[in-house]
C-alpha cells in the first residue's frame, strides 16, 4: 500500500495535477498553482547551493529580484518579447550569481552568510533608490503579456510556461545532482579539506553551484514578474529569504524532492491558513520550529524512512534506466 506513495508515483500524480489545473481551476486557484511552481524553481535552486554544496548564502532573494527586474524592465522599456526578456533575466541573474561567487569563494560559514546578507541588502537598496532605472520604491507595471495564438489569457500563458520550465529544469537538476557535479558538491559540504584531497576542484564546483542556483532564481524571478504584472522592491526583501529557506528546510535540506514538496506544501499551507490570519504567522513559525527540533531532515526524511522508493542516491540506479 505504501508503495503507492513512492516518489515516482507522487511526482507523476503531481505532474498530472499541475498539467490539468488550467482546465478546472478558477483564476485564483490557477494563480496559487503558478506560485507553487515558481517556488519549486526557487527551492530546487537554493537546495543545490545550500543543501548540497553547503554554502550558507543569503543572496537568493536578490538574484530572484535581478531576474524579475531585468525581465520586467526589458519588456517595459524596450518592448522586448516576454520570452526574450525572460532569457535575458536568467542571463543577468546568472552573471550576478557568478559575481557573488567570486568573493564568496574565499568565505565560509558565518562570514559567507554576512557577506551575502550585505549583498542582498545592497541589491534591495539599488531596487529602491535607483529611481531612473528601477522606478524606485513604487516599482513599475510590466506591460500585458501576449500569448496569442496559444491562448488569449495571459495567466494561463504564464502558467503553462512556468509548468514547462519546471518540467525541464527539475529533472535537469536531478540529473546534475546524480552526476560528478552533485557528488563533488556533497563532498565539499562534508569537508572541503577531504574533498580537495580527493582531487575535487573546490573553486570550480562552488562556482558551478552559485551559477546554477542563480539560474534557477533568475528564471523564477522572470516568471514572477510576468505572473504578477508588477515589480516592486519589497517582493525581494529579507522576508523572501526566510520564505525560501523555510521551503528548503521544511521540505528537506539536501533533498531535491524535499525542496519540491516544501515549496508546494508551504504555498498550499499559506493559502489554507490565509483565512485564519494571525494564526497563519504562528502556524508558519511553529512548523519551522517543529521541523528543526523534531524532524531536522525535513518532511522528506519521514518519507525516506517509512515509504519505499524515496531514497535519493547520488548516482544513477537500475531503477532509473
Amino acid at each position: 500500500m505504501l508503495r503507492l506513495f513512492s516518489r515516482r508515483n507522487v511526482m507523476a500524480a503531481g505532474v498530472v495535477f499541475f498539467a490539468l489545473l488550467p482546465f478546472f481551476a478558477n483564476p485564483y486557484v490557477l494563480f496559487i498553482g503558478n506560485l507553487a511552481l515558481m517556488y519549486i524553481l526557487l527551492s530546487v535552486g537554493l537546495n543545490m547551493l545550500l543543501g548540497y554544496a553547503g554554502q550558507l548564502a543569503f543572496a537568493h532573494a536578490a538574484l530572484f529580484g535581478v531576474g524579475a527586474y531585468t525581465t520586467g524592465l526589458l519588456k517595459l522599456e524596450l518592448g522586448l518579447h516576454y520570452g526574450l526578456a525572460l532569457v535575458a533575466g536568467v542571463g543577468l541573474a546568472t552573471v550576478t550569481g557568478l559575481a557573488v561567487a567570486l568573493p564568496a569563494l574565499r568565505l565560509r560559514g558565518l562570514y559567507l552568510a554576512l557577506a551575502t546578507v550585505a549583498f542582498a541588502q545592497a541589491t534591495l537598496w539599488v531596487f529602491t533608490h535607483w529611481n531612473s532605472v528601477t522606478y524606485g520604491g513604487a516599482g513599475f507595471r510590466v506591460p500585458p503579456l501576449d500569448f496569442e495564438p496559444f491562448t488569449s489569457r495571459p495567466d494561463i500563458g504564464v502558467y503553462v510556461l512556468t509548468f514547462v520550465i519546471v518540467l525541464v529544469s527539475v529533472p535537469l537538476g536531478w540529473n546534475m545532482l546524480r552526476s560528478r557535479v552533485g557528488r563533488a558538491w556533497v563532498a565539499i559540504r562534508e569537508s572541503e579539506v577531504a574533498a580537495e584531497s580527493l582531487g575535487i576542484d573546490i573553486t570550480r564546483y562552488k562556482s558551478i553551484a552559485y551559477v546554477v542556483s542563480a539560474m534557477y532564481a533568475g528564471a523564477a524571478g522572470g516568471l514572477f514578474a510576468g505572473m504578477l504584472g508588477i515589480v516592486t522592491p519589497e517582493s525581494f526583501d529579507l522576508f523572501q529569504v526566510i520564505v525560501h529557506f523555510c521551503m528548503v528546510i521544511v521540505g528537506g535540506l539536501g533533498s531535491l524532492w524535499g525542496g519540491v514538496l516544501g515549496a508546494v506544501g508551504l504555498v498550499g499551507l499559506q493559502e489554507v491558513l490565509r483565512a485564519f490570519r494571525h494564526l497563519q504567522e504562528i502556524a508558519f513559525g511553529g512548523l519551522i520550529l517543529f521541523t528543526v527540533l523534531v524532524i531536522p531532515g525535513g518532511a522528506v526524511s519521514l518519507l525516506k524512512r517509512y515509504v519505499p522508493g524515496w531514497k535519493e542516491p547520488l548516482r544513477r540506479t537500475e531503477h532509473d534506466e
Binding site: G229, E234, R277
Partner: protein
C-alpha cells in the same frame, strides 16, 4: 409510447422557465435576495496589521449599523476580508480570491499603495466596482476608471495643501525640511511641483535623515534664510528633532506639518518642550480628533462592536468610506448591479461624520475626497483650525 418533439420542446421550455424563476431576483455576482457580499483587500497580518484591521473595523461598524436598521433595500451586507500583507505579490492572490473564490459584488478596501496598484488590473479585468479606503497613489484613480473610486486624500494632495495653506496665511518666505527616503520623495516631488505652480521658490530646502539625532545645522540654515514658514515632510521623530533644535537656538517660525504629526497634541508631548509646538499646524485627512465630541457616538459604536479596539483616526477613515458606500448602494436601488452602483457613485456627494467636507465623486473625478483639515494647539488642546480644498 412515441414522444412528440413538440411535447419534449414544451417540457424543456417549462423547465427552463422554472429554472429561470428559481434564480434569485438579482442575478448579479455577490448579490442574493437578502445579502450583498463586499470584499475588503488590505493589510491584516504583519507589522502594519493594526492599521488595516482598524480601518476595516470602522467600515464594518457602518455596515453593522446599516444591517441593524433593515439593511440596504432589505439586503444585509456581508463583509469579507482578505490579507494583502501590504505586498504587491500578496495582493494579487488576495484580490483573485475575493473575486473568483468569494465572488464578491464589489471591493471596498486597499491600504498600501503598492499592493493596491498590483491588485488594480485584476479588478479592472473582472469589472468589479472598487472603493479605495486608504491607499494614496494617485494613479489608482487618475485617469478615471468607471469602476474605481477613492475616499482617501492622494499623496500629492497633502503636499499641495501645505503650500496652499502657507500662501493662504500670507507667508512669503517659505522653507522646506524634508527627509529624502522613499516616503519622503513621494511627498517632496509634488511639493516642489506645487511651489512651481504658484511661481515661488523655497527660501531654503533642507534635508534631514528620517531618524536623526541632531537638527541644529538645518535649524541654523533656516534661521539664516529668515523663513517665516517652514513646511515639514518628516516622520514624527525627525520633526521633533527639528522643533527641539530650532527652539533651542531661539528660532520660532510658523511650522506646517504633514499628516504624520496630525495629532498635534500627542506630537507636542513627544517633543517634550513646553511651547515648542505652539506654532505648528498639521494637515490631516479627517476633520476631527478621535476624542472630539462630534465623534463620540461612533467611538461608542466601534468600541462596542470591537472591544479590543481603542477608537482612533484609522477607524474614522473606514467610517467615512463606509458611509459613502452605504449611500451609493441605497441610491443604486433594489435592482442592484455593478453598473448601477458605479453609476450611483459616479455622481454622488456624501457628507460623512469624520471628514471636514463632503466626499464628492463626479464623472470626471474619482478622487472623491479633497478636503484637507488643519489641526493646531488652541489653549493646549488639539483643535481644527482650518480646511483646504485641494486642487491640482
Amino acid at each position: 409510447m412515441k414522444r412528440s418533439p413538440f411535447a419534449a420542446g414544451t417540457a424543456a421550455a417549462v423547465l427552463a422557465a422554472a429554472w429561470m424563476h428559481a434564480v434569485p431576483a438579482s442575478a448579479e455576482t455577490g448579490v442574493t435576495d437578502d445579502t450583498i457580499k463586499i470584499g475588503a483587500l488590505g493589510v491584516l497580518t504583519g507589522p502594519n496589521a493594526k492599521f488595516g484591521d482598524t480601518i476595516y473595523n470602522g467600515v464594518e461598524a457602518v455596515y453593522k449599523e446599516a444591517n441593524a436598521t433593515g439593511g440596504i433595500h432589505g439586503r444585509m451586507i456581508e463583509y469579507v476580508r482578505e490579507d494583502d500583507r501590504c505586498q504587491a505579490s500578496e495582493a494579487v492572490g488576495a484580490v483573485k480570491k475575493l473575486i473568483h473564490q468569494h465572488e464578491v459584488f464589489m471591493i471596498h478596501g486597499g491600504a498600501c499603495s503598492n499592493a493596491s496598484l498590483a491588485a488594480k488590473p485584476e479588478i479592472v479585468a473582472a469589472d468589479v466596482p472598487w472603493v479605495i479606503t486608504a491607499s494614496t497613489a494617485s494613479s489608482l484613480t487618475d485617469p478615471v476608471h468607471p469602476r474605481i473610486f477613492t475616499t482617501m486624500l492622494a499623496g500629492w494632495m497633502e503636499s499641495y495643501a501645505q503650500v496652499q495653506y502657507a500662501i493662504d496665511l500670507g507667508m512669503e518666505r517659505i522653507a522646506i525640511v524634508a527627509q529624502h527616503d522613499n516616503w519622503g520623495r513621494s511627498r517632496y516631488d509634488p511639493l516642489i511641483e506645487a511651489f512651481k505652480l504658484h511661481g515661488i521658490e523655497p527660501v531654503a530646502d533642507e534635508e534631514i535623515a528620517p531618524d536623526p539625532t541632531d537638527g541644529t545645522p538645518q535649524a541654523l540654515r533656516l534661521q539664516a534664510a529668515q523663513a517665516d514658514a517652514v513646511i515639514l515632510i518628516l516622520f514624527p521623530k525627525a520633526a521633533a528633532v527639528i522643533l527641539r533644535d530650532a527652539y533651542k537656538i531661539g528660532y520660532k517660525p510658523f511650522l506646517i506639518g504633514g499628516s504624520t504629526v496630525g495629532d498635534v497634541g500627542v506630537f507636542a508631548n513627544n517633543v517634550g518642550i513646553p511651547g515648542a509646538a505652539d506654532k505648528l499646524h498639521a494637515v490631516s485627512t479627517i476633520g476631527y480628533t478621535a476624542d472630539d465630541p462630534a465623534m463620540a457616538e461612533w467611538k461608542a459604536k466601534v468600541e462596542a462592536a470591537f472591544p479590543n479596539d481603542t477608537f482612533n483616526i484609522y477607524h474614522m477613515f473606514g467610517i467615512a468610506s463606509g458611509q459613502f458606500v452605504v449611500e451609493a448602494l441605497k441610491r443604486a436601488g433594489r435592482d442592484l448591479t455593478r453598473e448601477s452602483v458605479s453609476q450611483a457613485m459616479n455622481d454622488l456627494s456624501v457628507e460623512t461624520d469624520p471628514y471636514a467636507g463632503p466626499i464628492t465623486c463626479t464623472p470626471t473625478d474619482h478622487q472623491c475626497h479633497n478636503n484637507a483639515a488643519w489641526f493646531g494647539l488652541v489653549d493646549g488642546v488639539t483643535k481644527r483650525v482650518g480646511v483646504t480644498a485641494v486642487t491640482r
